[in-house]
Symmetry: C2
Subunit: 382 residues, 2 copies
């Protein structure tokens, strides 16, 4: 199969988003929002325009949306990208080095400024902005994160496509594993990447992880030249980018019949995620949903061998970036998960002797219940 190429974002989507963000700004008393993105985590800027900064150094890899509470946004980026940026947005485009001038002109002394993307903004740009708006404070805010978390029907459609492409990546891994002669982790990762691209993905959403045998005891690692051996547990964590949207998925595979311990790991992770899928209903809090998954992992004896069992969280928002800020499905967030959120639910087990896997699903919490965006099976062994 091959998906149609991704569409550009309808102007009505951008308008709706800007309206929602401006409303929140007024509620919270912000005169201006600074949304920062780089070429790698792009959602804070792509939420307002299809422009994406290009990989590189200096300002071409950076972009800022400056959104006043009462008027249209301006997109700031590097000199080398201005004409491209102008082709992607109907709003004003300006050079990043003119941001201080813009800020001085748009603010008076009582104007509070919200910053989205504080975690990633480089120290130099942060300093420039803070100096330009002084004495007004630059306030790290999750106002944009909260709005981004709830997906529109159009966004959901893009995410469904990204999830289908991710399923096809998993299928490519499965085929290569089940017929494996001398296949390496690296070859499995590349098989997934090529399968996703050939089916219509723009790129992998992130560097595909494939870890076999002893390396499946690591929670996160990049693939090596290690050749699969019979009985190996294989941890995968892969996702596809379709236009502006991405999916994030994890599955385990066993090459050859699994040992009893490997089988227990596969079942525990699948059962834990299934407990999460069953619990995920409108009105549930992030902490309660996290608890449903965490409890199964602890009960099966993996308290020591699972980040999710240790309280590191069992899921996260997904949309334009593979990991978005909200929702965060973890033990300390007692707020109700917003209807319309798209997020992952996951259980990772990494046993130093047996190996491990991550089972990670991508789901949409709708008004009437949970929609599973991916469909690939959670128990894979032969």
């Amino acid at each position: 199969m091959r998906l149609d190429p991704p569409p550009t974002t309808p102007e009505s989507e951008h308008r709706r988003r800007i309206g929602a963000v401006q409303e929140a700004m007024k509620r919270e008393g912000f005169k201006l929002l600074i949304a920062y993105a780089d070429c790698w985590r792009t959602a804070n800027v792509r939420y307002f325009t299809d422009f994406r900064p290009v990989d590189g150094v200096h300002t071409i890899a950076q972009a800022v949306i400056a959104l006043p509470a009462e008027s249209d946004p301006t997109l700031f980026t590097g000199d080398g990208c201005l004409d491209y940026a102008a082709s992607e947005t109907a709003f004003d485009v300006a050079e990043l080095e003119h941001l201080p001038l813009y800020l001085r002109r748009h603010l008076n002394a009582d104007g509070r400024v919200a910053l989205a993307g504080e975690e990633q903004i480089p120290v130099g740009l942060h300093r420039t902005i803070a100096e330009a708006i002084a004495p007004a404070p630059l306030v790290a805010s999750n106002l944009l994160a909260k709005i981004k978390a709830v997906k529109s029907p159009w966004e959901l459609e893009q995410l469904r496509h990204a999830a289908v492409l991710t399923d096809l990546g998993m299928e490519a891994v499965q085929q290569a594993v089940s017929t494996a002669g001398q296949v390496t982790e690296r070859q499995l990762a590349r098989a997934a990447d090529v399968a996703m691209i050939n089916a219509g993905a723009d790129t992998p959403a992130y560097l595909s992880m494939v870890q076999a045998g002893p390396r499946s005891a690591f929670s996160l690692a990049l693939p090596t030249n290690r050749v699969l051996e019979r009985g190996d547990l294989v941890l995968t964590d892969i996702g596809a980018r379709y236009g502006n949207y991405v999916a994030d998925g994890g599955r385990g595979f066993v090459y050859g019949p699994p040992s009893g311990q490997a089988r227990e790991i596969i079942d525990a992770a699948a059962d834990a995620v299934e407990a999460g899928l069953a619990a995920a209903r409108p009105g549930i809090s992030a902490a309660d949903l996290n608890g449903a998954i965490q409890a199964v992992l602890i009960e099966r004896g993996y308290a020591e061998f699972s980040g999710e069992a240790r309280g590191r969280g069992t899921g996260h928002g997904t949309g334009m970036d593979p990991e978005e800020e909200l929702p965060w499905i973890g033990p300390t967030d007692h707020t109700v998960i917003e209807q319309g959120s798209v997020f992952t639910l996951k259980a990772t087990i990494n046993h130093p002797q047996v190996g491990g896997l991550r089972t990670e699903r991508i789901v949409h919490l709708g008004a009437t219940g949970l929609e599973l965006l991916d469909t690939f099976p959670m128990r894979n062994f032969w």
Copy 2:
């Protein structure tokens, strides 16, 4: 053809690099070097270890090497990556949140600390480090950049492979363009990506750029669904990653016979780069090399339509990141280019009516002269 999978870095390489950096630190009076990298620009950390942070949020996407002038480095990264990190390095590995403790223990009041990666370090981590070492100053330094710029014979071998893979990506574009029925920019980019991966690349080095017709008038842009038309100039900028090393290349193509003006653009860019290749001899300064390329572009009448003609630089270092800090081939750097440097030489022309292209070669300046790492032709039309 298909390259062998990339090797891991020999321990002797890491040892040699650490020795060279420590020597420079002593010369410049630094007690400690902090080298920051994230999952996207990785060279500052990968120079010392094959570990690379994974794409994601928070600390798993960040890594720091702390290198004292007199003892072995410690690698700091997120909790979820510690066991993986330990498998990739013989040096100590610790959690990023323990970096302040490490810094307080390793510094006394007179210790100056060098920072590599100031352009990309997020404001929060920078603040944490600065507070931990206070009153010692945190000094942005290019000492690591200068050492990284000169490639060892082993590094050069990896870069040659990355350049071969990039040539194969260009070949895939050429084939698709010359047989084009209804091919889009996006399809050309994906053809290059898949060709590079199938021939042995780990990934594209960066998001492949393909811009056709009116969009070739942009210097930097990502591909769209625009269908190629006869006579279109096609700007490409693509590179392959092979293990830890990348290439960066640009070529123009014309689908169908070029107009006279398009032909002049193709020739001017190729002639400008050829002037650079001819000028690049041991002992030349970056500014003089830049001048050789810039002069041709101005002389042919593209002063208005070329970033390189406007003095924005005509090349940059390449190695583990597609764009490394040094050398920078631009008008204001009058230092001699170090022998052993690997860098690009480029000429971009973007004419608003005619379109344009970027011709970008990757080269190695050896003791006896210039080695061209890529070989794909610079004039491509049919």
